[in-house]
């Protein structure tokens, strides 16, 4: 046995690093419209190929093609465009606010707006999303008051979370938005638990779990799939593959040659891989999965292929680990641009309208930010009372905590 060659460790590397020419040749982009749309009660085995393919609806000219064209009207699509644009402009403003010291940290979802916005538009009132920290679109798509979001981001006197939580860690039960946790992945399993509860109670509500490509390596991802495959609760399991964790590319989590959709195969969960920058495809596949869930047909796993165009957070500088111009080479384009092109191709939109809309949203966002600022920013102006720190640890404050609060004199 001693004639063997020495073993070696395989360590996956992204296709390009700073200084290299961006290279996305490993991402094969099929023609729009070619992937079939199965019945919602199909067997998982019958659609295994859909995890290796990519559902796309809009072609390069912005025309919608194929089985997956969703049944929605122009107003709906214009709404989609509007909320995506609002999400982006909101992000840009909050990025600036962080730079101005109004908050400690912020994350943008630039390039991924279609996913949260379109899925939210496919969900119903009462359904519950368990987001990671990059799905602000779920709120904005419901016209959630931006000023409330900013109050939380600024940890100001009107922050409904009393300054206790990190910025952008929203919690909006009435908007089907579960409290964001900083611990990656935990919410994915909780989404399955919530969906089990809905099934146990004979309810009709659906849960939607969210996780990033990098975070699929966490244990919660596995237990979510195990429990989902066992109890078949009404849950949509979303993996947002935006190609990057922080400085770590998706190949470290996926093992390069695999992908995230096919992780469902080992669990007999129907799994679909989708162009996440195609608003129509996101809406259509979300709707399909939600319908399945609502009809008691169980979970669906969806990999949304997209690209994190901005830095990981305001603390991050991506030029340290990827080519500065990588985003421009991303083969699936920009979700806002693509829907805009589609609407223009349809003749219901034009550049002038788009500019006007952009301007209008900028004004709205600015107004919201100004208003929020009047309620304080992180550590400046009106801030939440110190005593808030001791609230909501328990339902009723236990004696030892009351003593501690008194010791601090608040």
């Amino acid at each position: 046995m001693n004639d063997e060659k020495p073993l070696s460790l395989h360590v996956p590397e992204p296709s390009s690093r700073p200084g290299d020419k961006p290279d996305f040749s490993h991402i094969s982009v099929p023609e729009a419209g070619v992937v079939r749309k199965p019945e919602i009660d199909c067997t998982p085995a019958s659609i295994r190929d859909l995890a290796y393919d990519m559902v796309r609806v809009m072609d390069d000219n912005g025309r919608a093609v194929g089985d997956w064209i969703p049944d929605v009207d122009d107003a709906f699509l214009l709404k989609g465009l509007t909320v995506m644009l609002r999400t982006r402009i909101f992000d840009e403003r909050m990025f600036m606010s962080q730079r101005q010291g109004k908050t400690s940290i912020y994350v943008q979802c630039r390039g991924e707006e279609a996913i949260a916005c379109a899925q939210r538009m496919a969900l119903s009132q009462g359904d519950m999303c368990f987001p990671s920290y990059r799905q602000q679109g779920l709120l904005i798509a419901q016209d959630f008051p931006m000023v409330d979001m900013i109050n939380q981001i600024y940890s100001n006197s009107k922050d409904k979370l009393g300054g206790r939580s990190l910025p952008f860690f929203y919690s909006e039960r009435d908007y089907g938005f579960f409290s964001i946790s900083g611990n990656l992945g935990t919410q994915f399993m909780q989404a399955v638990g919530w969906a089990m509860a809905s099934a146990i109670k004979g309810d009709t509500k659906v849960a939607s779990g969210w996780i990033g490509d990098g975070s699929t390596a966490e244990s919660d991802f596995h237990s979510a799939l195990v429990f989902a495959s066992t109890y078949k609760p009404p849950v949509v399991l979303n993996v947002v593959n935006n190609q990057w964790a922080i400085s770590t590319f998706q190949g470290i989590a996926s093992g390069e040659s695999a992908n995230f959709a096919c992780r469902g195969h080992g669990f007999n969960i129907p799994s679909i891989r989708v162009d996440g920058n195609d608003f129509l495809a996101v809406y259509a596949v979300s709707k399909w999965a939600i319908d399945r869930a609502r009809k008691n047909l169980g979970p669906t796993l969806i990999e949304w292929v997209t690209y994190r165009a901005a830095a990981h957070t305001t603390s991050d500088d991506p030029t340290k680990y990827r080519p500065a111009d990588e985003a421009e080479h991303w083969p699936l384009g920009d979700p806002i641009e693509r829907l805009k092109t589609h609407l223009i191709a349809k003749g219901v939109w034009d550049e002038t309208k788009h500019e006007a809309l952009t301007k209008q949203i900028k004004a709205e966002v600015k107004a919201a930010a100004k208003e929020a600022e009047s309620y304080g920013t992180l550590g400046k102006g009106a801030v939440p009372p110190v005593s808030e720190m001791f609230n909501h640890v328990y339902k009723d404050m236990p004696p030892h905590l009351r003593k501690q609060r008194q010791e601090l004199g608040v």
């Binding site: 935990t186 089990m196 919660d220 237990s223 004696p399």
Partner: protein, 353 residues
């Protein structure tokens, strides 16, 4: 065990009373709550058809159906993560972790999630979960069926930690825990399931049916969280104990003839500081007993608190009698377990004998 000064912890009420061991009392609590509130669901490894490896959930699946009492995959993380999601939905999950030793894979879902969900969301989402799990040694269970992890939970803000020492309390505390809107770690001293084990492993254990606290009222009642009980009144020294150690402490008092007041903490967090303070101020001496490893065990916190509250009343240093700072050994179980001999030595020492 001499009945001497052991205090009755409840008055027999007008209710019907049945003799129950601790497992039966726990099962009864689950039954009462499941009947009363269809948001109560019970699940965990082997708890469904089989009724749990200690049989605490026996019969519940047959009675309440498979969607209210069911087997879970062997994923403690998944079990607790599911419970958090269910709690957020509005249920009151009562998951079982088969042994407390196996709760660690779920530690993140407990400490980072269940414990903080209310705080994070200003109470918009809560995790009214009761995690039942058998704790402690004395069954030759070795490193992985014997541990007492309570201090890992008392350090986490947002959790409550409960540990009964008899069937009456077990039922009342479990019902109170299930009704509590905060997450509760409910530790069941497995060595007490059958009887009030006092550490004399070489003697037969009195069954609960012959013990006053094995008299368990039928139907609904609660033992409030956060309230200790005086398990034995005494004037010489205060012993702070919980779970199995309550019985060991009583036994040591009887055997040494030292008139110890044994406080059964019942809830470790929030702790009944009032009862502790009153007793130590009365006796002027204090011993802390637990099975868990010594360093950073809950006994350290008890010593700190007694010192903070009663420093000027203490006539001798507080003594800890605990498990040693080693993993729980198999063959040396009875040299590891803090039995009545070691507690007795500490009693004599703290009395200056």
């Amino acid at each position: 065990m001499p009945e001497g000064k052991v205090m009755p912890q409840h008055k027999t009420t007008e209710k019907q009373v049945s003799r129950k061991n601790m497992i039966e009392a726990i099962r009864d609590a689950l039954d009462v709550k499941m009947a009363q509130d269809d948001n109560v669901v019970v699940f965990g490894e082997d708890v469904g058809y089989f009724g749990g490896v200690f049989r605490a959930t026996e019969g519940l699946q047959a009675k309440y159906g498979k969607s209210r009492c069911f087997d879970a995959p062997i994923s403690e993380l998944g079990i607790i993560g599911a419970a958090v999601g269910m709690g957020a939905y509005g249920l009151r999950p009562v998951p079982e972790i088969q042994f407390a030793d196996y709760i660690l894979p779920a530690y993140d879902q407990i400490a980072s999630e269940a414990a903080r969900l209310r705080y994070r969301s200003s109470g918009e989402f809560i995790a009214p979960i009761t995690i039942r799990t058998p704790t402690g040694g004395g069954i030759y269970g070795g490193q992985t069926h014997s541990q007492s992890p309570e201090a890992l939970f008392t350090h986490v803000a947002g959790l409550k930690t409960v540990i009964p020492s008899n069937p009456y309390d077990a039922k009342g505390l479990l019902i109170a825990s299930i009704e509590d809107d905060d997450p509760v770690i409910f530790l069941e001293p497995k060595r007490l399931y059958n009887g009030p084990f006092d550490g004399h492993h070489d003697r037969p254990v009195t069954p609960w049916s012959e013990h006053e606290l094995g008299e368990v009222p039928d139907g609904h009642y609660t033992v409030p969280l956060g309230k200790a009980a005086i398990a034995r009144e005494g004037s010489d020294v205060t012993i702070l104990a919980y779970g199995t150690m309550v019985h060991v402490a009583i036994c040591a008092a009887e055997e040494t003839g030292i008139d110890a007041e044994v406080i059964d903490l019942r809830t470790l967090l929030p702790l009944d500081e009032e009862t502790i303070e009153k007793s130590v101020k009365k006796t002027g001496r204090c011993i802390v007993v637990h099975e868990a490893t010594k360093t950073s065990g809950f006994g350290a916190e008890l010593m700190a608190i007694v010192q903070e509250l009663c420093m000027y009343n203490l006539e001798a240093p507080i003594i800890r009698v605990t498990g040693w700072d080693t993993p729980y050994p198999h063959a040396q179980e009875w040299d590891y377990f803090p039995g009545p001999a070691r507690v007795g030595d500490a009693l004599r020492k703290v009395m200056g004998e």
